[in-house]
Amino acid sequence: MESGLILQNVLTPPVLFFFLGTIAVFVRSDLEIPAPLPKLFSLYLLLAIGFRGGLELQKSGWGYPVIPTVMCAILMSLIIPLICFGVLRIKFDVFNSAAIAAAYGSISAVTFITAESFLENQGIPFDGFMVAALALMESPAIIVGLLLVKLGAPIRKKPSNRMRWKEILHEALLNGSAYLLVGSLLIGFITAANNPSALEKMQPFTGKLFYGAECFFLLDMGIVAAQRLPRLKQAGTFLIFFAIVMPIFNALLGVLVAKALALEAGNALLFVVLCASASYLAVPAAMRMTVPEAKSSYYISTTLGLTFPFNIVIGIPLYMSLVNKMIPLTT
């Protein structure tokens, strides 16, 4: 059954464009999406995800599954880095372990929207409030990561060895992508409450254009991911295994929690994908600033070069079949 789902997933435009980008690198085509165009699509996607999530949240209200789901999501983003840290310490020092762990505790917005497209394609409904979970899972993992550094390596070799908490909270809560996502969520929420006619006028931009822009961005992500692969070899076999096995483990955890929350299949998949995905936006930027002792190529090659493609191509349908097994579709 999984292989059928995987094929169905692979044959959608976003995943096909992702492959187109990946193959471009392997066959050494000079196809290139020059900076800052990827930034444009990245900003656009965050704005649109947030805005749409906000208005869905307004529609769905704060009824049963919303609050507990969001709280469990935050909890997962606190627990997962701890588990990852334990695993990573087998091979890596505190700095690298904490930085990689933080990335896996946090989320990838593009993996999330690919999962949404997958669900739409399968005709499985899901709720907009999951975007709130997405938005609120970005920051906690960063704080856990930095806490781990503080506890695990009390005396840091580098000159400025005191952890500046203000700076860390700042990075965790106010980094560009988290800020834009949460801000757009609020704007969507407020607009839906006060100004429904404005929603309609936003729809062509945040709604209709979304799928195409997602494809364009995934083309670039394919290029970027494939370019990270050679550097992954330097990172060693342990990290390569970690980048595949850890997401699956996190997904299993996620499924259990989703079942406990009695989430419907669509929301359950999104919850699982949040657990299984790893950050390549907010967390690396924050780690570069606050834990420069960690090798950035480690946390970037793994999240972007391996975990991201794995989730996009195989992970999502795999997690779906997991969800299907655990959570019977209610009709």
Binding site: P34, S42, P159, R288, P292
Partner: protein, 93 residues
């Protein structure tokens, strides 16, 4: 006069410029979106969108006596975050 070339991560740009202003350099020029490789890491253009940023290249034309002050101010930053600083001769046209 001297020419100082500073190359370091774009995310440290604000801190670096504040340091330069603190010692009252007569001016500076900034080039962003610079990439490269140093002893510590490879900085590539395609990672700019992630918020990691590229490098910045800052040029300062100033009197020789100012260099010592600049050095004291920015050395901690360069040591902590990486980056290079080189000095050459320069005369106004």
């Amino acid at each position: 006069m001297k020419r100082l070339d500073l190359i370091f991560g774009e995310r440290e740009l604000t801190a670096m410029l504040e340091s330069l202003e603190a010692v009252e350099v007569p001016g500076y020029t900034v080039m962003k979106h610079v990439t490269g490789r140093g002893p510590e890491r490879v900085v590539s253009e395609d990672m700019e969108f992630t918020g990691l940023g590229a490098n910045a290249h800052v040029i300062v034309f100033c009197e020789e006596i100012m260099l010592e002050k600049i050095k004291n101010k920015i050395e901690p930053l360069l040591n902590y975050y990486g980056g290079v600083a080189y000095v050459s001769e320069a005369t106004p046209l």
